[in-house]
Amino acid sequence: MNSAVTSIKLVLLGEAAVGKSSIVLRFVSNDFSENKEPTIGAAFLTQRVNINDNTVKFEIWDTAGQERFASLAPMYYRNAQAALIVYDVTKPQSFIKARHWIKELHEQANKDMIIALVGNKVDVLENNEDERKVAREEGEKLAEEEGLLFFETSAKTGLNVTETFVAIGEKIPLKTAGDQETDSNGVAISDEQRIDLANSGNAAGQTAGCSC
């Protein structure tokens, strides 16, 4: 692929077991696995999507949810241009946790960061609306107050998953081939500059064009 590719670094945050990894798996592989192993530290995945004739490459950091590891999160969200804060619509505790994350990102992270609030597991409600413990309106209201995108998703059925990422992609200023040399952090890397570790012998030449 020769056209310019915009890379977006995105981080997923949220309480343990709300389905962060499952959302990423759905987005990246259009797959679902009930027994996805708990994430430790973080997992890294990428996915490309075409948005308005442009290719956007998401570089996704999927973090561990348990509060005990929350102190590590800044390592992952620093330099990130986007974040998904995920909660489980059947677990009110996870919504409280989402509020904490929003606060932390507003205080600590990149000011231009695009944040989406995501209520996951709506598939559980299909048969039984009683399972819902966080009203849709509650989520909408919080998102509006904080200036976030808002989606209710199901990683299991795929509902709204790609839509969430596309919406984020649309809000991030795209780069043209001309301004490939990107911000000071050098977050964006074009295809040509991609590191190729399997072929490390030749890779020195490939990284020569790097911005730093």
């Binding site: 708990p38 390592m75 559980v124 730093c212």
Partner: protein, 781 residues
């Protein structure tokens, strides 16, 4: 015929003859007329473990007719008379007539010398006792007159297969070998394939370790010898070694001459050294050595003292090892593990090493040789009759560290892990272990009950919410833990694959059906239930720490090996004693390890360290997951078990995982330096290493890195003691380091590695225990 295998003595002891071979001869003189026929026996006392079995030789001439008939029958039919038990059993009486009757375990080695195919000489065995005094006659198997051997030969010929399963030509001695190998740990030496060691120590095995390269690459070895002088290539030390061995052997021969008359003259015609040389005759090194007159001279002195072949082989091996310049792996390791700064004069190391650190051949050999796993016969040979380990713990740990526990023997791993994870003390007897087991079972069931009460207990809102939350977390994580591992895979009540087609809707089944109600499905798999119960119990057993994500990863291999809820729980508890520091709320334990690793990396891999600094990665944050769950996510399940059991030995250091991590950094340093420039790239690189590395290679590197580290520490320690003023500067440096991390970098320039509290601690084998603070309602979950 009223004979039986067993003899009952007054104290109810009975001896059982498990092996009997007739027409086994002693040749006391050159003259065939002097040959003595006899029976070779292996006996076991019925209430003694198998490995206490004994070997005996009884001359025919001393036996009564009845006894002779009894043994002849046994020779032909080893199971004959087994069931019959009789007062007048002849075993004891027969054994009293034996020329020798000694425990198999008191043998050092057995040499099996095949008969000549053309019938020129008989097959024979030489039993070498560990004791220097005891000398046993060489036993010749007269296959042509031995009924059982003839029968078996006939049998084999009928099947057109003169070979036994091992591929060797059958002769009488093979039956003896088969029998003995079932009773003790009998291992063929690769230096001389006729010599088998009995219950060898790891050092024995190393001494007889194969000259893989010598045999595998004769051509390369040939190239290497070119140009070396006939006499010049063997160092003086080798000759002195040989000389001293010769002296010892001469005295040995004198001893033997006194004891056994002219037996000596009938010792092996074909000399062991000659044999050894023949087997390696494609090796020019060996060929040249043979031509040396000194070797020829010593050879003559060697006749008879077979046991010294071991020592001699050690000398040869050591010399030959030095000769293995063509060993590419060895060379690669030596090159790669050199001090990075050594070749590069522009790189300033943080301290004045003033020496170059090299590995001795022995250090390299020990690290590289990983072919002697702890096997069942070996493990059994460690125990005495009371089930107490009779060798040092260090020796056992040496085995485990350098060869691991046989990966194919799950039952053995289970036994060993119970010691490794401190459930059973290394010095416990069998009875004591039974008592421990009982009390552990009782206390576990109490703890489990308490934890159930705690979780269902009082309605006290916040506390109850906490417990409920924890149990939810545990269940959720257990359901998604290692579900690709066989025992955890299927959610069936027996844990096995359901027989019915998965299309049939049922509560039990594969992934696709159990999500009927998303994550609220019920666990049926008994192994998953055990994991859950253990973690719930631990959650209340150690309430300050509680359950933290990652613990399932730590428990799952333990349970897989131990396969018992109670014992797995206690293994896990002891494991968590070591691992608790990884899970502290303030992350101080893992941070300490990262700081240690940072210093270690600066010291050992300065170039990589500099590069990581440029990548904004000098905090080594990317090692977090690997350190947290001991590389559980980086290697396949079985390999994780092998790696952990090595760490658990604390053989070199209680924090050996940091050297393993260092080895991983070292191994990957070229790709990193050449390709990675940013924090995220480094993080990503280390995040995706699953199943890409050979753990054994890393373990070898880790060991060598440790050895090198230890040498550096020793040398700088000495340097420090020579400069008394330096200590002051350095001490304040450490304080600064603790208070102000920004300045520590510059202060460290004047710091010797032996001053770092982190680095010093790496030399300790004592596990570091850091406990969690008491939990309050404000504590992070």
């Amino acid at each position: 015929m009223d004979t039986s295998h067993t003899t009952h003595t007054s104290n109810n002891m009975s001896t059982y003859i498990r092996f009997c071979k007739s027409k086994v001869f002693v040749h006391p003189t050159r003259n065939a007329q002097d040959n003595n026929a006899g029976f070779l026996l292996v006996t076991t006392e019925t209430d003694q473990p198998l490995y206490e079995s004994k070997v005996a030789w009884v001359p025919e001439a001393t036996l009564s007719r009845k006894q002779l008939a009894f043994l002849n029958k046994l020779d032909l039919d080893p199971s004959g008379g087994k069931t019959a038990s009789h007062k007048h059993s002849p075993e004891q009486a027969i054994l009293q007539l034996s020329s020798f009757h000694i425990p198999l375990a008191s043998l050092y080695s057995i040499q099996f010398r095949n008969p000549s195919p053309s019938g020129w000489w008989y097959g024979s065995i030489i039993l070498n006792s560990k004791s220097r005094v005891e000398t046993l006659p060489i036993l010749f198997f007269h296959d042509d007159v031995c009924p059982s051997t003839l029968n078996k030969k006939k049998e084999l010929n009928k099947n057109f297969d003169p070979f036994t399963t091992s591929g060797d030509v059958y002769w009488g001695g093979m039956d003896f070998k088969d029998c003995v190998s079932k009773l003790v740990d009998l291992q063929k030496t690769l230096v001389d394939s006729t010599v088998w060691l009995v219950n060898p120590t790891l050092d024995d095995l190393r001494n007889f370790s194969p000259q893989k390269n010598t045999n595998a690459k004769p051509n390369e070895a040939a190239t290497a010898t070119e140009g070396s002088e006939d006499t010049g290539f063997l160092p003086a030390s080798f000759w002195s070694k040989l000389d001293s061995a010769k002296w010892t052997i001469m005295s040995q021969i004198a001893e033997k001459t006194n004891q056994t008359g002219n037996m000596i003259t009938h010792l092996i015609k074909k000399h062991p050294i000659v044999k050894f040389v023949e087997q390696n005759n494609d090796n020019p090194y060996v060929r040249k050595m043979l031509q040396n007159p000194k070797v020829l001279e010593v050879q003559d002195d060697f006749d008879s003292a077979r046991i010294y072949l071991a020592k001699w082989a050690l000398g040869v091996k050591e010399e030959a090892d030095k000769y293995q310049l063509d060993d590419s792996y060895r060379r690669l390791l030596i090159n790669e593990l050199k001090m990075e700064g050594e070749q590069d004069e522009t790189t300033e190391t943080n301290f004045d090493l003033g020496m170059d650190i090299q590995f001795s051949q022995q250090e390299l050999n020990v690290a590289i040789e990983r072919n002697f796993p702890l096997t069942r016969p070996k493990w059994d040979s460690f125990f005495d009759s009371q089930g107490r380990i009779s060798i040092t713990v260090a020796e056992i740990k040496d085995f485990i560290f350098h060869g691991g526990v046989d990966v194919n023997d799950l039952e053995l791993k289970r036994e060993v892990w119970l010691f490794l994870f401190n459930v059973y003390p290394w010095d416990s007897s069998k009875d004591e272990r039974l008592q421990i087991l009982e009390s552990l079972q009782e206390s576990y069931s109490n703890l489990k009950m308490v934890s159930m009460k705690a979780s269902f207990g009082e309605d006290n809102s916040e506390e109850k919410e906490y417990w409920d939350d924890q149990i939810f977390r545990i269940e959720k994580d257990v359901k998604r833990n290692d579900r690709n591992v066989d025992i955890y895979q299927y959610n069936t009540t027996d844990g096995k694959q359901p027989l019915s087609e998965p299309t049939e809707p049922s509560e039990e089944g594969t992934d696709s059906e159990m999500d009927a109600n998303n994550e609220h499905w019920t666990i049926n798999n008994p192994h998953l239930l055990c994991l859950k119960d253990i973690l719930v119990t631990y959650n209340s057993f150690n309430p300050n720490l509680g359950y933290v994500q990652g613990m399932t990863d730590l428990l799952s291999p333990i349970y897989y090996i131990i396969r018992d809820e109670t014992l797995s729980f206690w293994c896990f508890v002891n494991f968590m004693e070591v691992m608790e520091r990884n899970f502290l709320r303030d992350q101080s334990g893992i941070r300490d390890q990262m700081l240690t690793l940072t210093e270690l990396c600066q010291l050992m891999l300065p170039k990589l360290s500099d590069h990581l600094k440029k990548c904004d990665s000098s905090n080594l944050f990317f090692c977090f997951r690997m350190l947290l769950v001991w590389f559980k996510r980086e290697f396949i399940f079985q390999d994780v078990c092998s790696i952990w059991e090595i760490f658990m030995t604390n053989f070199y250091s209680s924090q050996f995982q940091l050297f393993f991590m260092l080895a991983m950094l070292q191994k990957n340093s070229q790709p990193i330096i050449n390709n990675l420039t940013q924090f995220d790239q480094v993080l990503k690189y280390f995040n995706d290493l699953h199943d890409t590395m050979n753990w054994k290679d890393l373990m070898i590197r880790a060991e060598l890195l440790f050895i090198k580290f230890k040498k550096i520490m020793a040398i700088t320690e000495r340097q420090m003691n020579n400069i008394p003023t330096r200590r002051k500067v350095v001490t304040s440096g450490l304080e600064v380091h603790q208070e102000n991390e920004d300045e520590s970098e510059s202060t460290k320039q004047s710091m010797l590695p032996s001053d770092s509290k982190y680095l010093k601690l790496l030399l300790s084998k004592e596990p570091i225990r850091q406990r969690e603070e008491p939990r309050t309602k404000h504590s992070i979950r």
